[in-house]
Each structure stands twice: as structure tokens, then as C-alpha cells.
Amino acid sequence: MKKRVYLDYSATTPMKKEVLDEMLPFFNVQFGNPSSIHCFGRENKSAIDKSRGIIAKTLNARTEEIFFTGGGSEADNWAIKGVASALKDKGKHIITTKIEHHAVLHTCEYLEKNGYEVTYLNVDQYGLIDLEELKAAIRPDTILISIMFANNEIGTIQPIKEIGVIAKENNIIFHTDAVQAYGNVVIDVNELGIDLMSLSAHKIYGPKGIGLLYIRKGTKIQPIIHGGAQERRRRAGTENVPAIVGFGKASEIASEGIEDHISKLTYLRDRLINGLTEKIPYVFLNGHPTKRLPGNVNICIQYIEGESLLLSLDMVGIACSSGSACTSGSLDPSHVLMAIGLTHEVAHGSLRLTIGDYTSEDDIDYVIEQLPPIVERLRQMSPLYEKVKGGN
């Protein structure tokens, strides 16, 4: 079989076998509705709470602060709309950043159309926010600060603890989208002063279609999915038991192995960054050199366009992405790359290679070997490359 190298772990991950094994009985043996009191459903309440407990422990949170959702996007929507609605009498101002995931950005834009005001903080060339700018943005009617833990495209990790302190000092609820950070960064909600946090299982080798919102006890927030009394009346809908169980297992595995995971991924990441920037001219790294996700490589390869790169890489079995997977339906260059100051031309040539638990050193070396000729071939076709060729 042709070599296949998956380097798109930030888009989604394969589910681990241990996770699937844990889920299987809940599909058709212990399949009952957890709200039922009979033997097909009864034990499912405890299976759910067991998962809740496992996950809470990995975050230093309490079991009853974990609320399952249908994914990371729903958790982001809930955090923002839920606080906006709960605190609308206190104020209608929200602070976020220009580089959030669309689940945050589009929710904020929706609120703007409904009478709220949103400040979108700038980021520097590395994708970091400026804490002074954050402080200056705070107003008496600010009800929420929503700043992502780690960026899904360029991998930059924000100064979450410092943001937590500022939020607390100003008595403002602090939400962080930690969908990319979870499993890749050690997270302690108390140490970091996080009030609300969105997570998603499919980024940590768990199932798709399940996420959660961490809600610090006492945080004012309204539901966004109304109905049955599930999730302590905060999120309606028959509980997705197999997925919740799988999320718990994936969390457990991720948290047990997190140190090794981080050091292995960091090593492979830096090997890839160094290999590519050494071998290919006119290439530079996006995001922060060290304050970045252990598995994230995001580079701009000048004079060529990302999709043609992806296609060429796909033909040699290398799977990666150009900008966020979620936005690849659109052809506009990524808002994140624009926010760090890239030109359109350069932003179009971005490549995101994200490393995960099944990535080997061989895989990395394969990419370092395969990419340069692909780049050269595409550059030879590019009218933008003509101009620089002379000096080459």
C-alpha cells in the first residue's frame, strides 16, 4: 500500500481503539435512556457521571461543573450566548480576539446584530494578544472575555493565567475555547482562573459530535438548548452515552500520557520546522516559536498557493491542511493569518501540518523529503516566482 502520513490532527483525530472498545457496549447492550429507571438505562447515569468525573479530574474541576454538549462549536455558542442572555441587564459588551475560531467569531457577530457590542482584540505577529490592550478594552458594561487557549491554525498559546487575573480583578466572566489546547497543554481551571471552557472530544482521539462546557460553579449562564431535564436542566437532549463514555476514556488516556505526548510532539514538530525551513527557500514559520501547541507546524511557502500544495502532497500520501479545516470551504485567506499581518499573497501559501500520537520520525522525514520538489515544481509554474528567480 502507498505510504499514508496523516498530519492533520488539529482537524480531527482517529479514535483510539481503547476508546471504541469502551463505547461499544453502550450502542446495543447497555443502550437504555439514562433517564429511565429500569436496568437498560439505570446504570447509564453512572457511566455518564463516571466520565464527567474523569474529565473533571484532568482539569482540576468538580464533577458537577462539566456539562456535555454536541461538540466544541455548541459549547462556544453556549458560553457566549448563554452569558450574553444571563447578563443582558448588567451590560452588552463582550471582548474577544481577531483570531478566534469561527464558532466564537460568528456567534459574536450574531450578537452584534442583536444589540451587543464586541471588541475584537488585535494580535501581534506571533498571534499573541496584548494584555494592556485587553485592560484598556474593559468597560463597566463588559460581561464576558472570550479568548481562545491555543489557536487552531498557528498554534499560538495565549497568556491564559494573566487573562484570568485581569478578568477576575474586573469581575468579568472569562471563557476560553480550549478545543485545541486540551490534551496538549496541562490545564488547571482554578490555577488559570477560567470560568467557562469549551472542549471537543474528536480532537483528543475521542468521538465526533461530543463536546463539553466547563461551567465554574456560580457562573451566570442560560441554556441554549431547551427541553428535557438532562445535564442538570442545563442542556436538553437524550444523553449521547457512548460518546460521553468515549470522551471520558479519551480524556483519561490523554491526561495520563500528557508529559510524554508533549515532549514527543515537540521534538517531531521542531524537527519538521527545522527540516522544512532549511531545505526550502522563502519559507517562514507562522505563530510563536515556543508558545505554541506541541504538534503544530504552520508555515508560509511563498509564491505558491496552498490548495495546489495540498493536492500535490495528497498524491504522495501526505494529509495536511492550509488554514483551518473548518474554513476550507471558503477561498478567502484565513482571518488568523491576516490578523498576524500577512499579505493576501503570502497567506494563500500557508500550510498547516499537525502532528499527533501516531506520527513517527519516519513520517516527518518523509515530509521533509517530499515537500521540496513539490514546492519547486509549483514555483516553476508560478508567475509570482519569476520575479525572484533572478536572485536565486
Binding site: 498557493e305 490548495e307 477561498l331 485567506p333 493576501h344 499573497e345 509570482l384
Partner: protein, 148 residues
Amino acid sequence: MYSDKVMDHFTNPRNVGEIENADAVGQVGNVKCGDIMKMYLKIDNEVIVDVKFKTFGCGSAIATSSMATEMIKGKTVKEALNLSNRAVAEALDGLPPVKMHCSVLAEQAVKSAIYDYAQKNNLHYEELDGYNPNEEDDHHDHGVEEED
């Protein structure tokens, strides 16, 4: 996503390169949208005897450029002016809806090169009446479905 034909023209593009002392050069697209096509023509007695292109862009931008050059090579200038984007897309066994604009770009690259030729040689082609290469729509629709 792409037809085999598209993938073939992307992988083995025909007529890549430049023509020194070309009789006509046209460039369309812009970096904002992520597609630039540059086309070079050698014209002899109203016949396109050689054509080359360079493209910065996605897979279908490269494939449509390649296909368009194949389709106009050996044709008269007038025939080339009648090349439609649909014809290019069809010759490639179709393009995804969001990629149809690439075929439009290929059609325009041809037109733009011939416009250059007409200008240089003081020729008139009625197919170019009303055509202005600088008027090209910067914010052309990428065909993403609208909500209703």
C-alpha cells in the same frame, strides 16, 4: 472532489512556461483571491502557433490554464476568442461549483492576451468589443451557496 481529467492536467500541465518575444501576453486574477494566470501567445498569420502559461493558484486554476492552452493551440485568434469558460470546464469533465470561477479566469486570460495582441498591432476583433482587462471584477463570486 476533482475529476480525473482535472487531476491529470494538474499533475501534468501542458504548456507550462514562458515564450520569449511572445506576440501577446495577458495576466488576470489577483493575489487577494489567490489565483493569477499569465498567458503567452505566439501568433502567426492569425493562428496561435504556440501558447504557454504560468499560474499561481489552486489545483483547478492550474488545470483550467492547462486545458485552455490546449484548446486554443493551433486555433485562429477568432476561434480562441470564442472559447467559453463552460467549454473549458466541460473539457475537464466538470469542476466543483466553488471552482467554476477558475474556468472564467482561464477564458479571461486568453481574452486578455489577445487584447494585448490587438493593442500592439492595432487590430480590431468584435469579440473584444466592450472588453476591458482592467475592469475585471475583483470580488467575483466564488460560487459558495447562498442561504435563502
